[in-house]
Amino acid sequence: MKNIIVSITITLVAIASLTSCNDWLEVDPKTQIGSDDNFQSEQGFKDALTGVYILMTHEDLYGRQLTFGLVDVLGNQYSGFTTNDRNYYQISVFNYESDTAETAIDAIWTAQYNAIANVNNLIANIDAADPLMFENENYNIIRGEAYGLRAFLHFDLLRLYATAPASGGTTAAGIPYANTFGLTVTPSSTVGKVLELIQADLTVALAALAEDPVIPGKVTTSSDNYLRDRSYKFNYYAAKALQARVALYANDKATALASARAVIDGKAFPFVPASQVVVGVPAMVNRVFTPELIFTLNMTNLGTLSSTWLTNSSTEQLGKTPDEYRAVYEVQDDATAADYRFRVLTSEVNGERYAVKLTQPEGIPTTYANRMPVMRVSEMYYIAAECLKDTDPAQAIGYLNAVRRARGILDDLSPALDAAQIQQEIFKEYEKEFLLEGQLFYYYKRVNAATMRFSGAVAGDAVYVLPRPDNEIEFGN
C-alpha cells in the first residue's frame, strides 16, 4: 500500500510538474483510441483504412443495399414481390415515401457519409503526417486509396441521390461533397461540381498509387505483406476504372475511353478461364470470376447473407421467374444454354430462379471465397464499347464480343450492328453481367431510360432520384 501510494504520488506529481496542465488534462480512452494518438504510427493509418473497408461491407452499403439489395431491386433484377415483403416491396414499386423505403434510403446516406467521415479523418491526418514514418511506398498507397475511396463513395451517393447529367444536366443540385471531418456542415454542390471534385480526388489518388504493385511490373519492396491481395483495396486500376465510370456518367467519352483502355490494356485483370467456371463440383466453381475483379470487398459473412436473401428457403427471398431469366440471358433451352452466367450462376428451385453467384458452398477454395464484387473488368469493355459505338462500331463490337466469348457465348455479335443496336447489346450485358452487383439501375439512370425492363412504371427522376433524409434537408442540403 505504502509503495503504491508513494509511486502513484510521484507519478502524479511528476506528470503535473513535467508536462503542462493541458497535457495532463488530455486523457486517451483505453477501450477507444484517441484520433491523435492513433495516427502516431503507420499501423494506426493502416487500421483506420481497414476500418473504412469494413464499414463498406455493412449491409446498408456494399454488404447488401448497394450491391444485391436495394439497388438491384430498383433495377428490377428481381420480381415477385408481394405486399407481405416488409423489406423490399415498397422499394420495388418506387414508393420512396413509405416508412420501410425511407428507413432504408436514409440508412444508406448516413452510413455512406459515415464511411466518408472516416476517410476524411484519415486524409486529414495522412496529409499532415511525416512520410518517413511509413515503410517504403505504404505512405503513398494508403493516401491514394483514401482519396480514391472518397471519390468512389461520393460517386455512388451522387448516382443515387441526384439527377443524372443526362436528365438534369450538370447544374442541377448534387450532394454535399464532404472533405473535412468536424462540426462544419458541408453544403450541397451541383452535380457538375461534385463530378469535378471526384475527378480531382481521383487525380490525387492515381498519382499516389503510381507505384501500386497491382500494376504489372511493379514489385513491392515492403516486407510486411501489407500490399497483398490488391483487389481487396482501392488500387490503382480501381481508381482508373472509376475515372472511366465517372467520365461516362458525365458524358466525357474521351476520358472514359482512355481510362477504360488503360485498365484493359494494363492486362492486370484477365478474363476468368473456362476451366475455373465449368467444373463438375459446384463448390469448386469460381463464382465471382475472381481474376476479373478490379475491386472486391472481403466479407466473411457473405455465405450467411447469400443464404438469408438469395435462396428459396428465406422468407424475403430475392429472385426472378425462370422465364424472366431466360429472357434476360436469351436462353431457349436450359440444357443447351451456353452463357455461364445463366448455366452456372443461377439455379432453379421450386419454380423460382436464384442467383448463386455469392453462395459460399462448403469446400469453396479460399481464393474464390468471401468476395463481394464491386468493380470488374468487363465494365471497362462495355464503357469502351459505348464510347466507340458511333466512331468505331467495329472496335466497339469487338470489345463486346471479347466479354461474350469469355462468358461462353459461342455466337459473336454481327459486325453490322448500328450504334443503337450496340447500345442495346451493352444494356443486355449490364443486365446479365451485373446481377447482384447493382450496376443495372445506374445504367438506366445514366442513359435516362424512359422505361425499365420488367417494370410497368414510367421511369424518370421520380424513380431515378432517391430522396435524401429529412434531417439533411433541414440543413438546406
Binding site: 486523457v27 459515415n114 454535399p176
Partner: protein, 1126 residues
C-alpha cells in the same frame, strides 16, 4: 512549488505509513494514563447535582478535583441553588458552566488554588491584582508558552491579551508565544472555533490547551476544505449534527437528511420501493439538468457532489456509511458556499465529516441496533378468487362463439369456481415477503496524548429487506491517527469497506402481484406447482433454485492531511486521498428456471439454457491538494483566506462476460458453462477523467457587522473539449449582521438577525468522459482479409464544456428571544449550456453530436423555523418544535433540436400501435422537453371522460373539437410531478432522562400519473390478477356512466388527463424515543448508556390511491438502539 510539494508529500507519506504500522502494533498497549502534568482547570471531573447550593457544589468539586477554592463569603451569594451534570469534563468547563450565569469569575493562582470573585472586580478600573499577593510588585518579565488544541496540534495565530489591557500578541506557526507580563496577570486566549481560555500568570512558562468549540457545531460552516465561522459566512449552508441525524431515523444518512432538509429531495420511485440494494436518486434545490434520456451521464445528472472527509465520494459510499460514525453533514446550496468546488458544484455539495478522535484516556463508544422492516402492502387492492373469476366472466373470458371452445371454457370456469369454493384464495403478495431483521453495530474508540491521538472505528451494518433473501451487508473499519512533529501536524485516516449486496432469489415483486388468487401454490402432495398452463409459471418454484444475483465491493480509502504552520498567520496544508475499489456482480439462472421452460428439447438452444453473467470493475481515484491559509484579525477587521491547488484523477473500468448452458442449479459456477452466449464477447468500458484547479476563498468581516465572501476556482477537466479545457467559477456573497448594530441591539429580543445575499457561477460535469475527443474503436467482430479495422465513434466537439449554473440567493437568519429561530432563503438558479444532442446533417458522418445547448431555470424558497417552546434547566427538560418548507419550480428555457427530435420520435411511437415500444410504455406519459415547461411535466391528452353510449374515451383536441382518437399532437401539460411545496415538521422533547422526537414530511401541489389505474384497471390484462376496481367500475353496457372504458376493450390507453391526479401527501416519517440510563448506572464503569427506539415511515395519508412498490415493496421500519460509552 510542485517540486517542493512532491518532496513533502513523499516525506509525509513515508511518515504516515510508518505511523500506521506503529498504530497497528501498539494499539493494545496504547492506553494513555491521566496526564499528571495537567493544569488545575484541565482536571477531569464527573459531577451530578440537582438544585443544591453553590457552596455544596464547590465543596463537591474540591473533593472531586482535588483543588482548593478561595473566595469571600460576603462577596459571593453561596446560597444560590444550582444544578450541574458533568461527566468526565474539565474542571474549567464545569466552573464556566456553574459560575458564568452567576457573574462569578475564577482565576488560577500559582497553579495551586482557584480564586473566585464577582465579575465587575475584573474590570479595567479595578485591576484584579489589587487585592492579591506581592507579586504585583514584581517587574514585568517575559512569559512564554505554547498553545495547542486537544490533539496536541499547535495552534498558530491564537490571540493572547492581558486582561484589562490592550497588550496582546499572537502565537507563531509552532503555537509558541512570548508576552511581557507580570505574575498574577490574567492571559486571555481566544481563537476561532475554540473556547475562550483565561489563565493567571505564575512563572515564565504558560502552556495552554484550547478546547475546540464542539458544542457549537452550528456556529461553524464546514466546507470540506476549511471551516468558517457561521456568524461571518454569507453563503447558504445547512449544517446537520449527528444528533439531529439520529433523531429522525436509523436507516441511512440520505434518508435522515431528506427529512431534515426538504431542499434535499429523494425523488419518488414507486418501482424500487424499499429495496436496500437500490441507490436513491437525490437532488438539491430541484433539477438543474435534464433527465438522462440517452445514457450520456455517469450518474444521475442532477446528483449533488458528495464530499466525505474532504474527498469526493460516491452516493453508494454515503448510502453505506454508518450513521453513528458521522459527526456532521453540511449542505452547501448557493454559489458563495459551493463555488470552491467549481465545475462539480452546480447540483449542490453535501459535505460529510466523520468523528474526529479526541485526546485523553481511551474511550470506547458502542452503538448498536436491531432494525426491523415490515412490508407495507396497504396500497395494493387486488381481487380475491371469487372476485377475480367474476371479473373474468364479465370480461368475456369464458365465452366463445365456437361451441367446442365454449365447452372447454365452461369446464375451466367450473374448475376455478370449484377451487374458489374449496377455499383456494392464495395471497401471492405475501409469499416472497418476510419481516426483515437486520443489525447494526459500531464500535469506536479513541484517545491519546498531545503528541499522538488515535481512533479506531469498526462498523457492521446488515440490512435485511422485506423480500426474502434481499440483504445488504457492509463491514467497515477505519483507523485514524493524528500526530505532531515540530510545527507540522498530520492526520491520517485509513478506511476499508466491504459490501455484499444480495438480491432476492424471489425475483421481481410484480411477478407475485399479478398471480391469480385461485391458483394454488402446492399440489395435493405438498409439492410446488411449476406451471398453470399457457406459459404461466409459479415464481416460487424459481425461488427454490440456487440462482445467484449479487454484487459486492471492497474499497480501501486512504486520506492524509498535513499542516505546516509557517508563521502565526500563515499555514500550509496538504491533502492526499487515494481510493481503490474492486467490484463484482454475478447473476446466474440455471436451465431449470422458468425463463427457459418453453425451449423444446429438440431445439439447438436446449443445451444453452441457463445463463451466468459475471461483471467485474475496478475504480481508482486519486485526489491531492496543497493549500495556504492566511488569517488575520486586526482591530475591527477580520480576514480569513485560503488558496489551494488541487489535482485529481478518477478512473474506472468494467468488464462483463456472459456464458450459457447450465443444465441444473448445482452447476452454479461459470466454469461449467457450455459456451459463451451466442454472438457475445466480453464487453467492458473504461473511463478516466482528470482535473486540475486553483481556488481562492476569502471571507472578510468588518466589526462583525459587514461581511463578505469571495471564492474563485479556475478549473480544468479532461472531460471538456480541447478548446474549452479551462473554466472559471466564482461566488460572491455579502452579509449584514444587524444584531450587532446598536439600533437592533437595543431591541434586546433579537439575538441574531443576519441578511445574506450571494451570486455566482458553478458547473456540473458528471457526463461520460471522452465525448469531446475524436476517438476510434476497434471492430473486434470482423476482420478484413485478416486485418483489423478502426471506426470513428462520434463527431467530436472540441468546444464541449461543463453545464453552468448561475445561483442567486438571498436569505436571512433570525433568532428572537433565544427561542425562535427562523432561516429563510430565496433563490433563482439558471443553468446554461446543458449537455444535449444536437442534430447535424448526416453528411457530416454522424447524425448528432454533443453540445452545450439548452437552459433551465429553478426558482424557489426555503423556510426553516424552530421554536423552543419550553425549556427548564432545573427539570432538564425541553420541547422544541420545527417546521421546514421548501418550494421549487423548474422551467426549461431552451432545448436543443436533438431533444426536439427525441420528443417527436417519442410522440410518433405513442401514436403507433405496434412496433418500437411496449404496450406499457405506450400507456405511460413520456418525458418531453418543451420550452417553458418543467422537466417533470406530465404530458397527456385532455379527456372528457368515457362516453356512456359506447364506453369510448372522448378527447378534446388542441383546436377544441372532440374526438375518440388519441393523437400525440393534442397532448397538453396535464400536471407536474414535482410538488409545489414540500417539507417536514415535528418536535423534539426531553424530560430528564427521556427524549422523544417525531417528524412528519409532506408534499403538496404536485400531480402524478396513476399507473395503477391504467395497468390494473383500465388496461388490466384479465389473464392476470387485477385491481378490485376493475370489477366494479369498468364500463359494461350502454348508458352506464363510468370512469373507465369498455371492459372488453384491450387496446392501450395512451396518456390521458383522466389518470392525472393531484398528489398531496402527509407521511409520518419518523418517531424516536430514547432513555438515558446514566442515573441507573451511577457508579458503574460504564459512563453512559442510552437505549432507544426508532420507527420510520409509519403511516401515510395521500390524495392518490396507487400501488406503491411495484418491483419491490415499501417497508415500515422499526429499530431498537443502544448507545454506550465506556
Amino acid at each position: 512549488m510542485q517540486k517542493i510539494f512532491t518532496a513533502n508529500i513523499c516525506k509525509i507519506m513515508r511518515i504516515t505509513a510508518a505511523q500506521f504500522i506503529l498504530l497497528v502494533l501498539t494499539l493494545s498497549v496504547a492506553v494513555a494514563g491521566d496526564n499528571f502534568a495537567q493544569g488545575l482547570l484541565d482536571r477531569k471531573v464527573s459531577i451530578r447535582i440537582d438544585a443544591r447550593t453553590l457552596k455544596d457544589v464547590l465543596t463537591t468539586l474540591e473533593n472531586e478535583a482535588q483543588v482548593k477554592f478561595v473566595y469571600s463569603t460576603s462577596a459571593l451569594d453561596l446560597s444560590r441553588n444550582i444544578s450541574i451534570n458533568a461527566s468526565d469534563e474539565k474542571l474549567g468547563a464545569v466552573l464556566n458552566q456553574v459560575l458564568t450565569p452567576l457573574a462569578i469569575q475564577f482565576v488560577v493562582k500559582n497553579n495551586a488554588y482557584i480564586v473566585l470573585k464577582k465579575e465587575k472586580e475584573a474590570s479595567a478600573d479595578e485591576p484584579i491584582t489589587d487585592s492579591l499577593s506581592a507579586s504585583q510588585l514584581q517587574d514585568v518579565r517575559s512569559v512564554h508558552g505554547r498553545v495547542t488544541d486537544k490533539e496536541g496540534l499547535p495552534l498558530p495565530g491564537v490571540n493572547i491579551m492581558i486582561m484589562g489591557t490592550t497588550i496582546g500578541t499572537a502565537t507563531d506557526g509552532d503555537g509558541n508565544y512570548t508576552i511581557e507580563a507580570r505574575d498574577g496577570d490574567i492571559l486571555v486566549f481566544s481563537f476561532i472555533g475554540f473556547d475562550r481560555y483565561e489563565i493567571v500568570v505564575s512563572g515564565d512558562l504558560v502552556n495552554v490547551v484550547l478546547n475546540e468549540n464542539v458544542t457549537q457545531l452550528n456556529d461553524v460552516v464546514v466546507t470540506g476544505y476549511y471551516t468558517r465561522k457561521a456568524e461571518s459566512f454569507t453563503g447558504s449552508a445547512v449544517t446537520i449534527s449527528k444528533d439531529e441525524l439520529r433523531m429522525v431515523g436509523n436507516q441511512n444518512v440520505l434518508q435522515s437528511v431528506a427529512i431534515l432538509d426538504p431542499s434535499f429531495r429523494i425523488v419518488d420511485n414507486l418501482d424500487i420501493g424499499s429495496n436496500p440494494n437500490q441507490l436513491p436518486n437525490v437532488q438539491v434545490r430541484g433539477a438543474a439538468g435534464v433527465p438522462d434520456l440517452k445514457g450520456d451521464y455517469q450518474t444521475n445528472p442532477n446528483q449533488p457532489l458528495f464530499i466525505l472527509n474532504g474527498f469526493q465520494a460516491t452516493i453508494e459510499q454515503v448510502y453505506d456509511l454508518n450513521m453513528n460514525f458521522v459527526e456532521s453533514i453540511t449542505i452547501l446550496k448557493d454559489a458563495a458556499a459551493k463555488a470552491i468546488y467549481g465545475s462539480r458544484a452546480a447540483n449542490g455539495v453535501v459535505v460529510i465529516e466523520t468523528k474526529r478522535p479526541e485526546e485523553g484516556r481511551m474511550r470506547i463508544n458502542y452503538n448498536g441496533s436491531v432494525d426491523i422492516q415490515t412490508p407495507d402492502l396497504s396500497s395494493y387492492e387486488l381481487t380475491n378468487s371469487s372476485q377475480k373469476i367474476q371479473a373474468e366472466q364479465l370480461a368475456g373470458v369464458y365465452t366463445s362463439t365456437t361451441p367446442l371452445i365454449q365447452e372447454q371454457l365452461t369446464a375451466q370456469y367450473g374448475q376455478r369456481m370449484a377451487e374458489a369454493a374449496r377455499g383456494v384464495n392464495t395471497y401471492w403478495l405475501s409469499q416472497p415477503l418476510r419481516t426483515g431483521i437486520g443489525q447494526k453495530h459500531n464500535v469506536y474508540l479513541d484517545g491519546g496524548d498531545e503528541a499522538m491521538i488515535y481512533s479506531v472505528n469498526v462498523s457492521y451494518n446488515n440490512v435485511k429487506g422485506v423480500m426474502k433473501g434481499s440483504d445488504r451487508t457492509t463491514l467497515s473499519g477505519t483507523a485514524g491517527l493524528s500526530y505532531r512533529y515540530k510545527n507540522f501536524s498530520f492526520r491520517n485516516l485509513l478506511t476499508v469497506d466491504n459490501n455484499n449486496s444480495v438480491n432476492s432469489p424471489y425475483g421481481d415483486f410484480s411477478l407475485y402481484a399479478r398471480m391469480n388468487p385461485y391458483w394454488r401454490i402446492h399440489d395435493e402432495d405438498g409439492r410446488l406447482i411449476r406451471s398453470y398452463g399457457n406459459s404461466v409459471f409459479n415464481p416460487l418454484y424459481d425461488a427454490t433454485l440456487k440462482t445467484k444475483d449479487f454484487s459486492k465491493y471492497m474499497t480501501v480509502t486512504e486520506n492524509f492531511y498535513g499542516e505546516w504552520a509557517i508563521t502565526n498567520r500563515l499555514r500550509a496544508t496538504a491533502r492526499l486521498g487515494v481510493n481503490h475499489s474492486d467490484r463484482r456482480t454475478e447473476y446466474f439462472l440455471p436451465a431449470t428456471h422458468s425463463t427457459y421452460a418453453n425451449i423444446a428439447s429438440s431445439s439447438p438452444e436446449y443445451v444453452n439454457r441457463g445463463q451466468y453473467t459475471i461483471g467485474t470493475g475496478v475504480d481508482n481515484n486519486l485526489t491531492s491538494d496543497i493549500g495556504l491559509a492566511y488569517n488575520v484579525e486586526r482591530k475591527k477587521h477580520a480576514l480569513y483566506s485560503n488558496l489551494f491547488y488541487s489535482i485529481g484523477q478518477q478512473s474506472s473500468s468494467v468488464t462483463q462476460v456472459m456464458a450459457v448452458g447450465f443444465p441444473n442449479d448445482r452447476m452454479n459456477d461459470i466454469s461449467m458453462a457450455n459456451r459463451y452466449l451466442e454472438g457475445s464477447s466480453p464487453t467492458g468500458s473504461e473511463n478516466t477523467t482528470r482535473n486540475l484547479g486553483v481556488t481562492l476563498a476569502t471571507n472578510y468581516s468588518y466589526d462583525n457587522r459587514f461581511l463578505a465572501d469571495f471564492s474563485y476556482r479556475l478549473n480544468g477537466s479532461s472531460q471538456f473539449g480541447a478548446r474549452n479545457r479551462w473554466g472559471g467559477f466564482w461566488g460572491i456573497g455579502a452579509g449584514w449582521n444587524l444584531h450587532n448594530e446598536d439600533f437592533i441591539r437595543k431591541l434586546r429580543f433579537i439575538e441574531q438577525l443576519k441578511l445574506r445575499a450571494s451570486t455566482g457561477y458553478t458547473g456540473s460535469q458528471n457526463f461520460n468522459s471522452y465525448m469531446s475527443v475524436a476517438s476510434y474503436s476497434y471492430n473486434t467482430r470482423q476482420t478484413y482479409n485478416g486485418d483489423i479495422g478502426l471506426a470513428l465513434q462520434a463527431l467530436p466537439n472540441p468546444y464541449l464544456q461543463w453545464q453552468q449554473t448561475q445561483d442567486n440567493n438571498i436569505g436571512f437568519d433570525l433568532n428572537m428571544f433565544g427561542k425562535l429561530m427562523v432561516r429563510g432563503d430565496y433563490y433563482l438558479s439558471r443553468t446554461n449550456s446543458l449537455l444535449s444532442d444536437v442534430t447535424t446533417p448526416p453528411s457530416s458522418g454522424f447524425t448528432s453530436y454533443k453540445a452545450n445547448i439548452g437552459r433551465t431555470e429553478n426558482t424557489g424558497y426555503q423556510l426553516a423555523v424552530s421554536y423552543k417552546a419550553y425549556t427548564s434547566a432545573a427539570r432538564k427538560s425541553y420541547l422544541n418544535l420545527f417546521i421546514n418548507i421548501a418550494h421549487n419550480s423548474n422551467r426549461i428555457k431552451e432545448v436543443s433540436n436533438g431533444f426536439k427530435q427525441l420528443n417527436a420520435e417519442q410522440d410518433a411511437d405513442k401514436d403507433g400501435n405496434s412496433g418500437n415500444i411496449t404496450k406499457e410504455q405506450r400507456q405511460t406519459p413520456s418525458i418531453r422537453l418543451i420550452e417553458g415547461m418543467s422537466t417533470e411535466t406530465i404530458w397527456a391528452v385532455q379527456s372528457l371522460g368515457i362516453d356512456p353510449a359506447n364506453g369510448k374515451e372522448i378527447f378534446r383536441k388542441k383546436d377544441g373539437s372532440l374526438t375518440y382518437l388519441w393523437s400525440s399532437a393534442d397532448q397538453i401539460a396535464a400536471g407536474d410531478a414535482a410538488p409545489k411545496i414540500m417539507g417536514s415538521f415535528g418536535a423534539n422533547f426531553q424530560y430528564q432522562s427521556f427524549t422523544a422526537n417525531v417528524a412528519f414530511t409532506f408534499k403538496a401541489g404536485g400531480q402524478a400519473y396513476n399507473t395503477t389505474l391504467v395497468q390494473r384497471v383500465e388496461n388490466a390484462d384479465i389473464s392476470w390478477n387485477v385491481d378490485t376496481r376493475f370489477l366494479s367500475e369498468r364500463w359494461k353496457e350502454p348508458g352506464q356512466a363510468s370512469f373507465y372504458k369498455d371492459i372488453a376493450d384491450q387496446t392501450a390507453t395512451k396518456p390521458t388527463t383522466r389518470f392525472v391526479e393531484d398528489l398531496n401527501e402527509l407521511v409520518f416519517s419518523s418517531v424516536s424515543l430514547m432513555y438515558d440510563l446514566r442515573r441507573v448506572l451511577k457508579g458503574q464503569k460504564i459512563n453512559n448508556v442510552r437505549v432507544g427506539f426508532n420507527m420510520n415511515d409509519l403511516a401515510r395519508v395521500s390524495s392518490m390511491k396507487t400501488e406503491r412498490g411495484l418491483s419491490y415493496p415499501f417497508a415500515r421500519q422499526l429499530s431498537f438502539t443502544v448507545q454506550a460509552t465506556f
